[in-house]
Each structure stands twice: as structure tokens, then as C-alpha cells.
């Protein structure tokens, strides 16, 4: 009898180990392709806390440079952004972040107010697969799932990614147990230049109201930050497209005024910031490139220093050691990407 139990335990352990290994093998690694998918998980490798946390979609992880905020203002910041991050995903990421640290400021980009329902499985995966298992992850998955998805496949990603068996590459083995860092504190660097020309204006909408569920989550964010003593700052990044309607702007302004929250629409400040959409965007105005992101961060760093309880930590050795190292990596990445871009660009 004892022998049977020992045999059973042994094989259950072998089964579990095999499943763990298969999960690791079949999960997309997002190293050479779609690095956006690696952003959320990178946060857990951070060694220090942060004064400022950015939350939101590509309009944060493409438009702000935490490294510049450090170098010029001594601010420690991190971007918990991911592609087409929906507001409930942002909320649960915010809640989860507050389990790890209590920053001084949370910056939330309001573009996702336009999405009142789950959008696509592919984006859900980019946003949620990287989250560590937690009540927040489960809640985020439940809130985000499209009809065809199941919670189980988020808990056991093999159930989703098993069909990759015929597209596994060397990368899948190489990154079985670890990942390279693809961002700079959540910022996904791009040095290419593609000027914004003929930016389309928004076509009229039948209804400009944001969905009630979005307001609920925005309320929850404001309540959570208030409860934790964190300053919530609402922003609209200076991306020319998707179009940001005046009617949306009014609703956010009203909300911010009602809740006593600062709200900055960077689209109205591009001249002041110095963003030039002929040189500061890599995709015709959807996102800023490194040069635009640094200009925007420079302005915002000044604003944060003036308006929020943040501190310059450049003199604090434990921070300085880590952040200077990050700066070096940032500079190296910038140099490498610029070399690649200038090599590619026939001009």
C-alpha cells in the first residue's frame, strides 16, 4: 500500500513538473517579436520603490521616459503600461502595484475611457499574461475576457498556447526560465522618425458619453488612491490619433474638477512642451519617439516637482546606484537603436 502511494506521489510530481515545463515552453516569450507583451512582467524585477507610477496604454509606455525623470529631476518612476490597456486592467494593475509599494503619485492616461467592453483576446493576453497570480489578476481576467476566453486558460496558459507546438523556436528554449529586459522602467524606446502628415480628424459619433463601467473604474481608482494617500493625476498623452473629442475632454475635465484631481491634456500643451510632430513621432503622430518622449517627460518632471510631493533622490546612494545603472542601459539602448535606425534609413 505504502509503495503504491509512493508511486502515485512520484508520478503526480512528474506530471506537475512536466506541466510546469510545458507552460514555460509554450508561453510566448515576446523577446524578438511584440516586446509589448513582456512589459507587465518586467515590473516584478524592480529593485526599488518608485515615487511615480504611470498606468495606461501605449500612450504611456511610448511617451514618457522614466530615465529622463531620474536624470533631470531625480524622480524614480515606472510605467505599468501595456498595449490597449483597458480601464479595468489599469485599475487592477494599480491595485496590484499598491500591494508592492506605495508611490507618491499615480498617473493615469484617460484614453481607455473610450472602451466600455472587452476588445480582443490578443490584447488581453499582452496585458494579463505577465501579471503574477493574485486576486487582482483573477479579477482583471474576469473583467476582461471576451466570450471565447476562459479563466482557466489564464491560470494554465498551456491550454491557450498549446497550438504553438509547430511554431516553437530556439527563443522558446533560450528564454524558458528567464527574460531579457526589453524596456527602460516600462518605457519602450523607439528612435525612428515618421512625421505626422494628414492626421485624420475624428468622425462624428452618435454618443460621446463614456460607458458607465468606465466611470465606475475611474471612481474606484480615485477612491483607492485617496485611501492609500496617493496623488492621482489624470493625463491625456499628446497622441494625435486615436482622436480625442472635445466632448470627451469636457467630461474628463468635469470629473477631475468634481473629484479635485489634477488633469493635464498634453495635446493642448504641445507648443509649450516643444513637441514637433515632424520629428518627434515614429508613427505619424500615434506615439512619440524617444526625442518627443524626452521633451514631454522634461515638461512633466517639472510639473511633478512643482505640484506633487515627490523628492529628488539623486543624492540617495541606494537609489543612485540602481538608477545610474539603468541610465547606462538606457543610453546603450538609445545608441544601439539610433545606429540601427540610421543604418536602415536611406536618407
Amino acid at each position: 500500500m505504502k509503495k503504491n502511494i509512493r508511486t502515485a506521489i512520484l508520478w503526480v510530481l512528474i506530471l506537475a513538473a512536466g506541466l510546469w515545463l510545458l507552460n514555460a515552453l509554450f508561453m510566448p516569450k515576446y523577446m524578438s517579436d511584440i516586446p509589448e507583451g513582456a512589459l507587465i512582467a518586467e515590473y516584478y524585477k524592480e529593485e526599488t520603490g518608485h515615487d511615480v507610477i504611470f498606468i495606461g496604454d501605449c500612450e504611456v509606455y511610448e511617451n514618457f521616459s522614466p530615465d529622463l525623470l531620474w536624470r533631470e529631476y531625480g524622480l524614480t518612476s515606472y510605467i505599468r503600461g501595456s498595449a490597449q490597456q483597458l480601464i479595468w486592467q489599469s485599475y487592477y494593475l494599480m491595485e496590484e502595484t499598491l500591494n508592492y509599494e506605495t508611490p507618491k503619485v499615480m498617473v493615469f492616461n484617460v484614453l481607455s475611457m473610450k472602451y466600455g467592453e472587452p476588445q480582443s483576446e490578443a490584447y488581453n493576453r499582452l496585458n494579463l499574461d505577465g501579471m503574477r497570480l493574485s486576486p487582482q489578476k483573477i479579477a482583471a481576467v474576469r473583467a476582461s475576457m471576451t466570450e471565447e476566453e476562459s479563466l482557466l486558460s489564464y491560470l494554465f496558459p498551456l491550454l491557450r498556447y498549446h497550438s504553438r507546438w509547430n511554431e516553437l523556436k530556439g527563443e522558446d528554449l533560450r528564454y524558458l526560465t528567464h527574460r531579457d529586459i526589453v524596456s527602460d522602467s516600462g518605457y519602450l524606446m523607439n528612435v525612428q522618425v515618421r512625421p505626422a502628415e494628414n492626421v485624420p480628424t475624428g468622425r462624428p459619433l452618435g454618443d460621446y458619453s463614456f460607458a458607465p463601467v468606465c466611470w465606475d473604474y475611474l471612481d474606484k481608482m480615485a477612491d483607492l488612491c485617496e485611501e492609500k494617500g496617493v496623488q492621482l493625476v489624470l493625463i491625456k498623452a499628446p497622441s494625435l490619433y486615436p482622436y480625442w473629442y472635445d466632448q470627451w475632454e469636457e467630461q474628463i475635465e468635469d470629473y477631475a474638477a468634481r473629484r479635485g484631481l489634477p488633469y493635464i491634456n498634453f495635446l493642448e500643451l504641445t507648443d509649450e512642451i516643444g513637441v514637433d510632430f515632424a520629428t518627434d513621432t515614429y508613427d505619424s503622430g500615434l506615439h512619440l519617439n524617444l526625442y518627443g518622449a524626452e521633451k514631454l517627460s522634461r515638461w512633466f518632471g517639472q510639473w511633478l516637482t512643482a505640484n506633487c510631493p515627490v523628492e529628488d533622490r539623486r543624492g540617495q546612494e541606494d537609489y543612485a546606484n540602481i538608477w545610474n545603472e539603468k541610465s547606462a542601459a538606457y543610453a546603450a539602448r538609445k545608441a544601439r537603436l539610433e545606429a540601427e535606425w540610421s543604418g536602415e534609413d536611406p536618407a
Partner: protein, 530 residues
């Protein structure tokens, strides 16, 4: 809920744990509750249908049984007072009373089946006939939803009722126990069609934890899931493409449809039955086998003794035999014998065969495809019986052939392709199209598509074809190796590590190569629709 779904795994997991936790005398009650829940999951309204069948059958069987006992008691008491003629008359009268109960119950239950399954088929045919005759307004079709497993549980319940009428089986006294016989969830959706005498032997017993039985059951469930998810559902993808565009996919593609559908249906149906038998085994219940390596049959009759065995024996015992000794058939037999001599004797048997296969076809589905499919099966069996003297002459001339491996292989391959060619009536839209497609094998063969890469444009790539081939090859190997004893029995006897290792590898392989999840929705088991 499909067997190949997480809901079923969760449902069964919970039920299994409870089953071995509750006091053993409650086990069958728990199974009944689980079965009703399983059925309710398909739609609460389904419970009404199965409830009507359960209650009417139980009542009728009880009444028939009680009548038989009362009549027997009365007869024993008054036997001495009655003349031979009176005794005969009395017996006939008693039988007639019991028969009315039987007939009433059969009419109610087959009536329900006929209405929900065949009404729209009849209306469609009436409308087509009226249109052909230049008739007026077509009759509207009804929106009837087929209750899950109705063909299976109706046949199972009616088989029990007839057994009680024949005195082969006692009537079950407890409505709950009888309800469990009808609704027992592992076999509810695709059979096998169990007999009360077989299933009741283990269904209501108290089952202590039996590691070996449970392990064997788990292995069988895993094997069934692997067949369904790795082979059947993978082959369903190119098959759908091949059948959807018959204009493009004719000639040699039709041979591919015959071959692929044979493998897919076998993997799907036997996979489902493996899960049924394995799940029941895990609960200590013995369910009848439904397949016996049918693709190794040497003729059509043998094939039908080895494929969907419980359906075949049901039709044989409850339709063919009673029909063969019925008055009209005996009269026909007499007439034909008088008129046509030796051959005439067989006309009545062949008539019964044709009726049997017509009903078998109809049972499979309300469409001419299935009816023609059934009739063709009957026809092939009749022709092969009639040609037997010819075969005998042939073997007398070539005595070495009979029993040789080569000739056996020829017979096996002939039966496989013949049955396969008839079976494609399941997949093509209508009967004329099926025959046109089969005809193109001779008129537009085009074998080059077998190697010019055309098969890689049917929704699955080379890797998937290789996985399907490896899966089908493994099934074939297990079938060959398991002729005397199932492979899993042999493995477990060698070493428990081999059995455990087999299970673990099966889980890994099914999780990796199974066709499920986003992009592939695990298809329903094909036999669910019957």
C-alpha cells in the same frame, strides 16, 4: 456538456470525490442526482422528456409485471378447473392485456421520439411532394429541439420494457433506481444502449474504493480523450473543407473523404465510448463494450457485429427476431416458399433485413442520407449472403486462399472501403451529391493531388497531418496489440510505473496536440446528434 470540456471534467471530478466520500448506500442516489444535473445542464426542458419516458416506462413495466404475476397466480389456482381450450384462451387474453400496456408505452415513447426527431423531415417531404405535383402553400416546419440523447435513452428504456413483457427481466420496483438506469450520465449522450440485466448488476451496488479499477478507468478516459482531441477533431478540419466544396474536391479527394471520415468517426465514437466506459469504471459500474476492432472485419455482416454492437443487438433482439416470427412475415415466408422454392424461403428474411436497415438508418437521423445509408448496408449484407455459394465455389477452386493472411487482408481492405464508401452518405449534403461524388472517383481521379501539396491547403499543415497519422497509427497498433488483452492491462501487469507513465504521457500529449481552445472549438461528439 461535452465529455471533452472543462465543465465535464469539473463535474465528474466533484462527483467522483463525493461518490467515494458519502456512505456507500447513498452512492447510487448520488449518481442519480449527478445524472439529473448533467441532463439539466443541457436544458431544464430536456428533463421533462426524459422524465416522461422514465415514469411511463417504469409504470408500464410494473403493471405488466404485476399483471403477469396476478395472471400466473390465478392460472395456477384455477388450472385444474379449465379445459385445454379454456386455458389457451385465458392465456391469450392475459397476454393481450399485458400487450396493450406494452403497446401503449411503446407508442407514447416512440411517438415522442418520432415527433421531435422526424416531424420536420415528414413535413419537408410532404412539401417536396406537393411542390412536385404543383401543390399550393407549403406546410410550415416546426422549431423542435431534439432533447439530448433521446434516441439512446428511449431505446434503452424500451428494451427494458420489452424484456419485462417477455419475462426476461423483473420490473424494477424503485422509481429512483429505474430513473438511474435511464439517465446514467456517462452513457446518456452516445450510448452504449445498455440492457437492464447487464447494467443493473453493478449500477446499484455499493462500491468501495478500488485503486486498480479506478486506475483502469482513468487510463481509458485519457485514451478516449486523446483519440477525440488529437485525431478526430484534427481530421474534422480538412474533412469540413473537403465536404464544403464538392465541386473542387472530387475524384481522389472522395477517396480521401472515405478514408479520413472512417478514421475520424472511429476515433470520435470509440473515444466517446472509452470515456463512457472509463468514467463508469471509475465509479465501479460495468458498461457493455460497444466496439470490437470493427475495421478488421472481413465482411459487412461481421463489421456490424463489431461496430456499435449494442445498437446492432438491440435491433436484432427487439426488431429483427420478433419481426421474423410475426404473423405477416410467416405468411410471406409461406407464400414465397410455395411460389419460389428454396430462394423464396429467404425472401422473408431479406424483407426483415431491409426493414431492419431502413429503421436503423432512420434511427441515425431524419434524412434520406441516413435512410439510403441504412438500405445500402442491408443490401450489401443480403448480396453477400446470396453470393455465398459463389464464394464457396471460388474457395473450392483456390483452397489455399481461404484463411491465408493475404486473402484476409484483401477481405479486410474490401470491407473497410465498402463500408467507408457507404458511410460518406453521413457527410455529403444529399444523396444525389454523394453518388455523384463517388462517381467522380472513376471519372476524375487526378491522383497527382495526393503529392502536389493540395492536402496542405485544407486547413491543417504538414505538422498536423503527421500528428494525425501518428495518432491513427497508435490507435491501429493498440488495436493489433490488444487482440487478446487490452494494452493497458498488459502495461499495468508489467509494472505500475509503465501504467502511470502512460497516463502522464497521454495527459501531456493531449494537452499539447489536442485540438481545443481558441481557434479550435472542440467539436461535439458525432454520435451526440443521434
Amino acid at each position: 456538456m461535452s465529455f471533452a470540456s472543462t465543465q465535464f471534467l469539473a463535474f465528474f471530478g466533484v462527483l467522483f470525490l463525493l461518490y467515494y466520500t458519502v456512505p456507500r448506500r447513498w452512492q447510487w442516489k448520488l449518481l442519480l442526482a449527478g445524472s439529473l444535473f448533467f441532463y439539466w445542464f443541457a436544458g431544464w426542458w430536456c428533463l421533462i422528456y426524459i422524465g416522461v419516458t422514465t415514469v411511463t416506462t417504469w409504470l408500464a413495466a410494473r403493471r405488466i409485471d404485476a399483471l403477469a404475476r396476478e395472471q400466473d397466480a390465478w392460472f395456477q389456482e384455477h388450472k385444474a378447473e379449465l379445459s385445454r381450450e379454456e386455458r389457451k384462451a385465458r392465456k391469450a387474453k392475459d397476454r393481450s392485456i399485458r400487450f396493450r400496456w406494452l403497446l401503449g408505452c411503446l407508442l407514447v415513447n416512440f411517438g415522442i421520439l418520432a415527433v421531435v426527431k422526424y416531424t420536420n423531415f415528414v413535413i419537408g417531404n410532404l412539401n417536396a411532394a406537393a411542390a412536385a405535383l404543383g401543390g399550393g402553400q407549403p406546410l410550415p416546419t416546426l422549431s423542435l429541439v431534439l432533447p439530448m440523447g433521446i434516441s439512446f435513452y428511449t431505446f434503452q428504456a424500451m428494451g427494458y420494457l420489452i424484456d419485462v413483457y417477455w419475462g426476461k427481466s423483473p420490473a424494477e420496483e424503485s422509481l429512483g433506481r429505474f430513473a438511474l438506469f435511464v439517465t446514467f450520465f456517462p452513457q446518456l449522450i452516445q450510448g452504449p444502449i445498455s440492457r437492464f440485466g447487464d447494467l443493473s448488476r453493478t449500477l446499484y451496488s455499493e462500491h468501495p474504493w478500488d485503486s486498480r479499477q479506478i486506475a483502469m478507468g482513468v487510463e481509458r478516459v485519457l485514451w478516449g480523450l486523446a483519440k477525440k482531441l488529437i485525431v478526430a477533431d484534427r481530421l474534422a478540419i480538412p474533412l469540413r473543407a473537403l465536404v464544403a466544396d464538392p465541386e473542387q474536391y472530387n475524384g481522389v479527394y472522395v477517396l480521401a473523404v472515405i478514408f479520413l471520415y472512417a478514421v475520424q468517426l472511429y476515433a470520435d465514437f470509440t473515444g466517446g465510448i472509452d470515456i463512457t466506459i472509463g468514467a463508469a469504471q471509475m465509479l465501479g459500474v460495468q458498461v457493455t463494450e460497444n466496439f470490437q476492432r470493427p475495421f478488421f472485419s472481413k465482411n459487412a455482416a461481421e463489421y456490424w457485429r463489431r461496430w456499435h454492437i449494442t445498437m446492432g443487438t438491440w435491433f436484432r433482439d427487439y426488431l429483427f427476431y420478433p419481426m421474423s416470427v410475426s404473423k405477416p412475415i410467416l405468411k410471406l415466408h409461406q407464400k414465397c416458399r410455395n411460389r419460389f422454392g428454396r430462394f423464396g424461403k429467404r425472401i422473408s428474411v431479406h424483407t426483415c433485413s431491409i426493414i431492419l436497415w431502413f429503421v436503423t438508418g432512420l434511427w441515425h437521423g431524419a434524412s434520406w442520407n441516413f435512410i439510403v445509408w441504412g438500405l445500402l448496408n442491408g443490401l450489401v449484407i443480403i448480396i453477400s449472403q446470396e453470393l455465398e455459394p459463389l464464394y464457396d465455389k471460388f474457395h473450392a477452386r483456390f483452397p489455399r486462399l481461404k484463411g491465408s493472411r493475404g486473402w484476409d487482408a484483401v477481405q479486410v481492405l474490401r470491407t473497410f472501403w465498402l463500408m467507408g464508401a457507404i458511410r460518406v452518405l453521413d457527410v455529403y449534403r444529399d444523396v444525389p451529391l454523394t453518388f455523384r461524388q463517388l462517381g467522380t472517383v472513376f471519372t476524375a481521379f487526378r491522383p497527382q493531388v495526393l503529392w502536389d501539396g493540395s492536402f496542405l491547403e485544407l486547413g491543417i499543415g504538414m505538422g498536423d497531418w503527421l500528428v494525425a497519422a501518428a495518432g491513427a497509427g497508435t490507435m491501429l497498433a493498440c488495436s493489433l496489440l490488444g487482440r487478446r488483452e487490452p494494452v493497458r492491462e498488459r502495461l499495468s501487469r508489467h509494472s505500475p510505473h509503465l501504467a502511470w507513465g502512460g497516463c502522464v504521457v497521454l495527459i501531456w500529449l493531449t494537452l499539447i496536440f489536442g485540438v481545443y481552445g481558441i481557434g479550435f472549438d472542440a467539436t461535439q461528439f458525432i454520435y451526440n446528434q443521434f
